[in-house]
Symmetry: C2
Subunit: 220 residues, 2 copies
Amino acid sequence: MHILTAEARTHYLEKYPIDDFFSFDINPYLEVRQFDKGEWIFQEGSFPDTVYYMIEGKAKLYMTHKNGKVSLIEYLEAPLFMGEIELLNEARYTKGIQTVTKTICYSITQSCKEKLLADALFLRRLCVFLGEKATKMTSKYTQNQAYPLENRLAAFIQLSADQGVYKEKHTEICEYLGVSYRHLLYVLAQFCDERILEKRKTGYQIIDKNRLAQLAQEVL
Amino acid sequence: MHILTAEARTHYLEKYPIDDFFSFDINPYLEVRQFDKGEWIFQEGSFPDTVYYMIEGKAKLYMTHKNGKVSLIEYLEAPLFMGEIELLNEARYTKGIQTVTKTICYSITQSCKEKLLADALFLRRLCVFLGEKATKMTSKYTQNQAYPLENRLAAFIQLSADQGVYKEKHTEICEYLGVSYRHLLYVLAQFCDERILEKRKTGYQIIDKNRLAQLAQEVL
DNA sequence: TAAAAAATATGAGATATCTCACATTATTGT
DNA sequence: ACAATAATGTGAGATATCTCATATTTTTTA
């Protein structure tokens, strides 16, 4: 991670204005930070003392279970807050966040914590963010229980396919969808058998869009 | 549902003070409402125009999937907010909430919406509530993926057992744990086989507390 | 209090998903 | 460019979980 200054800082602050998040001047408390691909923004189990607002990039939120299993809980895509729960509750330790791409964040030091927690403008935005987060987690959670991988994968392929080609890393997706690598491959193979997908060098080509949509549409 | 007035209202407002949630006088906007056991507080799919703060009682949060499956998402136990997300986002339709016991709630009409959304005191409390909700859903969600029913049920029995006796409705619990009724019964039978539980008229008696704890402790 | 509805119970067979073992390609760091 | 590491791919066998059918008991309601 390194801190951007001068032109770079100004560049981002102009491109992604953040003044209207606060009713006081946030500039003295704000840094523009860049994380390289693969860097950890929060180490799992640490006690962060910074709130981040990611403006560019993509990251993954992880947690490790007692039994050693690691869950990729979700993909985080800009714009979003990170470490905001730790701002509200004292000494809350965090889950792990690792960048997937180069990532630019605004960091806000806890030295203005009091101001933040008294600022209705900021709090309101935080409420909306947290509410959406809760809603999103709830729906993802309930879906996973209610549908087999066949349906969830179909929905995911629709979402993530680019120009009719699905091309994601199996190792990541199986974690994200909460199934074993083996099983993911089984279901992909099954889709190929059924002529829904076709495996090519470039990735999996969608050849039966309708059938895929039909499988996916079960999932809301 | 009926609205409590006079002594009843005063009684609850004294027992569960709520003034310190707001920096303005909430009294003109507040009603004390009572829901009977089994009543629906929110009908699934409706657009609620009231924020509730449940002060006594217990309810269930449901959602129905496209495939007709119904998920019991969570048990709601006082104190907590309901309909708060709908306050923040316009026209958000809600999941279904049904009471399990007689329930007392403070209701706040949207006529003071502007005041609420400008009140840092209230917003801060809402943030904490939403943050906890998100965290809770996330951990429940990830656990369900990472552990078989054996472990999750053990944990749940520990939580819900009263005086060493587990006595819940199977029909509800299987929904809550996201498994079929049949499978829940299998695993309960298995616990009996293994002499962890013993089935009696009064419920399932825990006879091997250690083994149960061992199974449960896998789950964080 | 009889009939209807809900909850409990159990068997049998299917399916979704997992673990492990191992072989074969990419990708990446030095 | 080579070794190390990560990602891909596949088989075989186990286990977790589901669906459906059906019977019994308990609770609710007219």
